[in-house]
Point group: D2
Chain length 341, copies 4
């Protein structure tokens, strides 16, 4: 068999581990040939690729990033390119394509699959927002990086007697905020799923100071928003202080909490450091298993599906299910973090 693999969308620790595992399983166990398309869907649309043998994937297991490069392609480009992609598959003699990517990538994968391309997807997201899989690789590393930072920030907040507002990734879901906040013992966790009331948040943090504590750590997902009517934003993407949205929710909260509490409050925005670098052992094992099982699914002809973790098993599920909805933090998980608003 000949199999193509590509990585698409935002960076995520574990991409290289999947690529390596696909090559190992396909080449070593099945005698397949594997090629890698460059820069995600663009490579498939342009037929831009390289051969992936065992040597090509040597030493990449623990490396962040992706040796194949990545890019974001607009869905309309992909729609117009279906025939072109099919042509490249034919010309290259490919029996299957394994795209590794997040929600957008999997939607694109479904489109191509619906148009007859033989596809087995591998889900990827540091945000943990893909439904039908318990979790994907990248999330554990992101949470680990955020937790390490929170551990460090705690001691400095305590010594300075400050409120630190730490912004972590998560535009639509609060999983990284929830898990890193629980892991580091944050005193409040603010997530997009639950628009916050600034008065409630102020009271909660204030109560801590009244109880004699001298510092507080608030973890906030980048996509967190105030509940309608509780806080006024000006038009045009600027907040009431004239800050660009660019400056982040943590900056806004720092200004507000300092003003309302009369305590020094400082923002910290962890940023891209959460999606780079060497993956945790957990993510490497999961990524390796996903690659292994994607190849097996290809050999069983299970197209139009993607790998998923269910308990301790790797299964495959229809791409259609995977992209039907975003996995958000449910109420009962909030409840477990006593500090969540």
């Amino acid at each position: 068999m000949r199999i193509g693999v590509l990585t698409s969308g935002g960076d995520c620790p574990g991409l290289n581990a999947v690529i390596r595992s696909v090559v190992h399983r396909a080449v070593d166990a099945h005698g397949d040939e594997v090629i890698g398309f460059l820069d995600g869907w663009r490579g498939l649309l342009d037929g831009d690729h390289l051969e992936l043998d065992l040597d090509a994937v040597s030493g990449i297991l623990a490396r962040g990033g992706t040796i194949l490069g990545s890019s974001r392609v607009r869905p309309e480009d992909l729609r117009d390119g279906v025939e072109r992609a099919k042509g490249h598959l034919r010309d290259l003699g490919l029996d299957a394509v394994i795209p590794i990517g997040g929600e957008g990538t999997l939607k694109a994968a479904r489109l191509l699959s619906d148009n007859g391309l033989p596809i087995v997807g591998v889900p990827k997201t540091i945000d943990n927002d893909i439904a039908v899989t318990d979790v994907t690789f990248g999330f554990d590393t992101a949470v680990g990086v955020a937790t390490d930072a929170l551990d460090r920030l705690k001691t400095t907040a305590e010594s300075h007697q400050r409120v630190l507002i730490v912004e972590v990734m998560g535009r639509h879901t609060g999983w990284i905020a929830l898990h890193s906040g629980m892991a580091a013992g944050a005193h409040a966790i603010v997530v997009p799923e639950r628009p916050f009331d600034i008065k409630e948040l102020t009271e909660r943090v204030g109560a801590r100071f009244e109880a004699g504590k001298r510092f507080a750590i608030v973890v906030v997902a980048e996509g967190a928003k105030p509940a309608p009517g509780t806080m006024d934003f000006a038009e045009g993407g600027k907040d009431i202080y004239g800050h660009e949205r660019f400056a982040g929710i943590a900056n806004l909260l720092a200004v507000e909490l300092e003003r309302r509490l009369g305590k020094e409050a400082r923002p910290v925005i962890l940023g891209h450091v959460q999606r780079g670098g060497t993956p945790t052992a957990y993510d490497r094992v999961l990524a390796t298993r996903f690659g292994w099982h994607a190849v097996e699914a290809v050999h069983r002809g299970e197209f139009g599906r993607m790998t998923a973790l269910r308990g301790t098993d790797i299964v495959t599920v229809p791409l259609a299910e995977a992209v039907a909805s975003l996995k958000t933090v449910p109420e009962e998980r909030y409840a477990e973090a006593p500090t969540v608003l």
Copy 2:
């Protein structure tokens, strides 16, 4: 309500996180009182305890070890002590006991539960050998520590053109060896579930050198053994070289592989470093959730059970099921690590 908590058996990263979570949930959400028995079951048998309020568990979330101490008690001591334990519970006005421990602890918990004590267990093992839960806290940290070490050893093995035999924990099961070996890309993984044939192992490692590679990493679980008839051990706990068993399977394999391959081979025994120190974010979250749900189970009167992870949910399962069998590495998981013997 008044709840007692204790930690028993070998050290495991995350014990303090469970203790803290039990206290937080019980005291903060339910208005309960919590006491901690010292040094595991011994504290329960002797009534030796301390009060655990919110201050007592401040700052322990990320700390390894257990603030309550631990010990190993012989089952017969516990059997004889059932009435004494009941008496202490009565005297202390306790409504429930939450023992946190591994297989031995959970067996003891079942014994006490069968004798009428109100018990909700929390499973703990770095070895991942407890059935009926997908995983417990401590395992992820142990795998992470072993993987970090393997990452380091790989570059030194390569520079020295050596075979390194790395012994990880796992007396009866090979989970740490399997996961750390997969995560670090080991070239052979030897587990207790599959007695090894030294000739097969030599061939596998030798094939790597024949293919032009200049080093190899073999991960071996401490409990790994040669297949009967494949390698002769002398009597009295000594191997054929007269080494004490104390010296470990890695030493034996290093001697054998060096002799058979004609390549320099060196043993590395990771040892207790795998069960100490700050837990990973994954383990802190899981430990915190276990503590939270154990308190809830107490309030629902679900005694004779223990917390367990199933997929992404925390459930409770009967203690009887939990201790019925050891969770070993199944055949299909071996297969995923192409290098496993």
Copy 3:
């Protein structure tokens, strides 16, 4: 003897290690008594203190922050408080005070020393800006944290084909930028000592892309500024885009480089994570040695001096020398980082 110790100024990994070492050496070797003033100079002015015996410093060696708390006191408050401080020393029967702090703290220490108080200072700065000592504790940890982040950011910049502008600490000096940039192989390093020309910086980064590379990492110290006349800033603390200075130099550079290069550029501001958390082994050893030698200096009556590292030796130097000038990055050190502007 009775010795007082205090920590003052911004947080810095290793403060607790010094405190512990002072107590160990003083109490254990000399039979001294030690007290700790709370919240820096404030504690000395108010006589607010606690006894520090061996138990009080148990387990703090590897912990970030300071068990004594810290604060910033205005010099004029201290000037007015000299007599009060003297009174507290008399009342508490103290033979010496060991203040641990940065430039501001050491200036205050000199003031008190000139007024007759028996003082031995210990220098502390993550910025490495204190003259007359090769380095102080805290710097190595800050550089390590920044380097870890840069390692992670490199893989994500590469996968996204981006320019990442990473802002590290350093208001007046570029030591953290220089060392972390060298350690991580940054492609340009911008420091306060050398006002940058945005055109030159753009050319340098652009040259990298022209040479076929697909990403770049720019490390910038928070205090970096454009060379006069090379870039226009509006009045009132806002840049030409209307961003508050608050938003940081990295944000400004990201906007400028993206506009000029036509490449996606993103800012990352590492922030307080650089000054919190567990110190590196290097900083723990240095902090421990400083504490040890400060006590010895007290016993030798070497007042008005502070500890300093010279090569591998710990010596004492006059406070007057220590605060005479800031240690900036010299020209010959720039030259070693081929990428420094």
Copy 4:
């Protein structure tokens, strides 16, 4: 100019950083050409080499090991090979050779230099045993790895109420033991420079238990030995228990301390993990500076010398001085670690 570079002796974090820095400085700043000899001196004797351009050293800065490979060559082989080496230098048109290595390598470098080869050495040792330089790269990483392990072991020793005997590297010198022991707050440190008296060590550790503590950590350098007459060893490389020397001093001490103290004692041998993997930021900066200055020394024609750190400066010193004696832990450094025997 054409410059050859090679790495020789045991693995050491930072070797790749030196190689990269030599190439960067030579090729980029001076327009030189650089070749790398494979497997240390062997490559020079056999003329076995590869071209090192900027691409060849891309991405290796943070990687452990050496892309050039290493080996140990017997001095007599080198002595016989002087003319052969000279011939290769002539044939390859080399103006200088930069060998990177430890004591043995530098002795060989001196031999070749005395025979007229144009050599600038770069010192390398995780053991910190090279005189005339304050420190070399590799040591900081080794101490960091050992300290991380000790941090983890402390919590598990405490929970198990055990004595842990942790063996770190250092055949002839106790620097790693001293620094990691100080950094982690070990309760006793045993170094080769000071043969130990087992009775004294037992008393010291025992005193800790008598004072109510429940655990102890002893750090021992692999080369530590009992003081003559204080402990009997059998002949033939075996100790009195019949253990091979192979088993290590930690095993011996664990047996002895358990027997004498009546407390559970366990050995942990950290092993090769101390010399592999990614270097600390400190070591990367030092290695990069050494590479830079070695190239400058070549261009100044300063042959027969090696780079050295003096305070914060990189200087060059005669190879003859560098290999005249081993740098051992002096008395006054022992004294700073109150626990050193």
